[in-house]
Amino acid sequence: MLEIKNLHVRIAEDETEILHGIDLKIGAGEVHAIMGPNGSGKSTLSYVLAGKDDYEVTEGEILFNGKDLLEMEPNERAAAGVFLAFQYPIEIPGVGTMTFLKTAMNAQRKARGEDELTTPDFMRLVKETAQRLEISMDMLKRPLNVGFSGGEKKRNEILQMALLQPTLAVMDETDSGLDIDALKVVADGVNALRGKDRSFLVITHYQRLLDHIVPDFVHVLSKGRIVRSGGKELALELEEKGYADYVGEAA
């Protein structure tokens, strides 16, 4: 599904290289976790996958279902099935959440050559999904993420993911700012979406999230390189020992 080869990335503005050659393969239906200390390049990787133009790829490639992902605009990536759950979801005053959801869903459908959703179909879909994620319709009447608590914003991200049905979901520190109850709701939302055709790349600093979203593979990212890969037990080991070993090793 996703193949990252020798990916080198720098910040466009000051040319600081953040990622120094990442190799990662994610198969259909797999859940991969990327763990690492602050500043290791985790968020950079997620932004590069989604197509944020603050970053420049200087070497390497990313193939998504065989296609060159780096050649695609952010909206084209979304229509092709890539979804980024933001670490800090953006507040957009003046854009109603429902308007946003409908515009996004229909834009993707249109890009894929599908018919646009009718309003009743759209409403039904949103209501059902929102209920599962304990999101009230009142919340959805507000402008996008405005006045939402941290937990509400994250649940709103999962709602978008559930409605847009991506084939690759990249989750950037989705656990940050969540209490344990909110974490469970979010994790249940993600687990409900797991399936043989949908892959996840879960980026996190802490092992805690991985108790709830159990990964198939865990990778340790440090100073812009994947320094170790293993199964889910690697996360537990990190929880116990911390990142000290890896920070040293990469330096």
Binding site: K52, N75, I92, V95, T99, A111
Partner: protein
């Protein structure tokens, strides 16, 4: 001394000034309004059109911007106007009554005030002009030497709406004052509205201006408004004159005690626009939300100039203006709040914000607070920026293409001011105007 004399005589010197003098001199001298008109036009003869060295006109130099002024327009084709109105009326079925002017002349056959006839008195201005304009004494005015728009209006006014909303009237649906310019020949339409809202009455007035693109016609419109004690008035002005048109507008209002007056000025279209608003709060516990949205592109120039006079204590004014500027267009906001020595406990909150869609655009912002009382809460703020890249990326990452994401963000930017109107049906009308300006489909459900 010779040069002094020469400069005195050279006030009327640009093509537009000469055209105005010619049009004025061609008006009949036996008009009962002649004296009022002449003394107003003398202000123009003496000072010429305002220019950048006149502080109030620093950013809108009419001497440079006005290339010509067409002659007063002949009445337009009523059937053509009927068809245009049916096709383009932004209010569709929202209004409960309608007063229609075509090329600056009242058209009874397109107007309908029947639904509110028992609560509202209406006459066109024409008959009051015929008896010499005694009615003007009942309304606040301004010195024509300081207000060129008013001076030109007094000189050339041809018609307008005289409206009296009776005590405690409750007018649920907006009263639509529709102004259409029709025809293929440019002309000058000059309108004067006199509106008095008696105590305790509630009403919404919705003014619209529409005309053909690529025709250099001129609109000059002045409204004198008196809002009596406890009355509540919402006043929406939608300026959608054609792409080559000039729109000069002014509203002079006086607010009584415990009155609520919320004007919203939405401008999208004309090549040159200047809207001025002067408001005096003359009774305590009055509230006013003065808001506006300006959308300009190409080489358009749109100016909003505001003067709010807090003359008495315990009043509240909120000023909130938004401008969207594309290409090499220019928007101007000048907002002055005066708080008189007695006007303790005044609250005045002014904010103006511009969104630049292109590096070639310009926003000139001039807030002025003149505060002579010591127990007041007054603030002003201004921002000028581009589309937020993070917001744009967020929307794109959800599959929305760049153009549509930008449109959503422009709408969102304006919505912050529009949503303060507090009437969903009216907000939807204005949001639909934004979609039209952006070239989007008419409806998002």
């Amino acid at each position: 001394m010779a040069s002094n004399l020469a400069s005195e005589n050279r006030r009327v010197e640009t093509a537009a000034e000469k055209a105005l003098a010619g049009h004025f001199d061609a008006m009949p001298a036996d008009d009962p309004m002649h004296e009022i008109r002449s003394s107003a036009f003398d202000a123009i003869r003496q000072a010429g059109l305002p220019h950048r060295r006149v502080e109030d006109w620093k950013y809108t130099d009419l001497r440079t911007l006005l290339k010509d002024v067409p002659a007063p327009a002949a009445p337009g084709d009523v059937e053509k106007a009927r068809a245009i109105l049916a096709e383009t009326d932004p209010l569709s079925d929202l209004a409960g009554s309608r007063i229609v002017f075509v090329n600056g002349h009242f058209v009874p056959s397109l107007s309908d005030m029947a639904a509110i006839a028992d609560q509202v008195d209406f006459a066109s201005l024409g008959r009051f002009l015929a008896d010499g304009g005694a009615i003007f004494d009942r309304f606040d005015t301004a010195d024509p030497a300081e207000t060129p728009i008013l001076a030109l209006n007094s000189a050339f006014m041809s018609d307008g709406a005289v409206i009296n909303i009776r005590q405690d009237a409750e007018i649920e649906k907006p009263i639509h004052l529709a102004h259409l310019f029709v025809g293929e020949e440019a002309g000058l339409q000059t309108l004067r509205n006199l509106v008095s809202v008696e105590s305790g009455a509630r009403a919404t007035i919705f003014e619209t201006y529409h005309g053909p693109d690529d025709l250099g016609y001129h609109t000059n419109t002045v409204s004198q408004i008196h809002v009596a004690d406890g009355a509540q008035v919402r006043w929406i002005k939608l300026v959608e004159d054609g792409s080559a048109a000039t729109h000069l507008g002014m509203a002079i209002s006086r607010l009584g005690a415990k009155a609520v007056f919320d004007p919203f000025t939405y401008t999208a279209g004309p090549a040159l626009t200047r809207n001025e608003m002067r408001m005096i709060m003359s009774g305590p516990h009055t509230k006013s939300g003065i808001r506006g949205a300006t959308l300009v592109r190409d080489k358009c120039h749109a100016d909003f100039t505001l003067l709010v006079d807090h003359a008495v204590p315990d009043c509240e004014s909120r000023e909130y203006f938004k401008a969207v500027i594309d290409d090499t267009a220019r928007a101007v906001f000048q907002g002055k709040i005066i708080v008189r020595p007695d006007a303790q406990h005044t609250v005045g909150q002014m904010m103006s914000q511009a969104l630049l869609l292109d590096e070639g655009g310009e926003f000139d912002n001039k807030p002025e607070l003149e505060i002579f009382a010591d127990d007041v809460i007054c603030a002003h703020g201004a921002t000028c920026g581009e589309i937020d890249e993070d917001m744009l990326f967020f929307l794109r990452s959800r599959g929305i293409d760049e153009a549509e994401a930008e449109q959503l963000l422009v709408q969102a930017f304006l919505a912050e001011a529009i949503e303060e109107i507090g009437d969903e049906a009216i907000e939807q009308v204005l949001e639909a105007r934004t979609r039209k300006w952006l070239g989007m489909a008419p409806e998002i459900e």
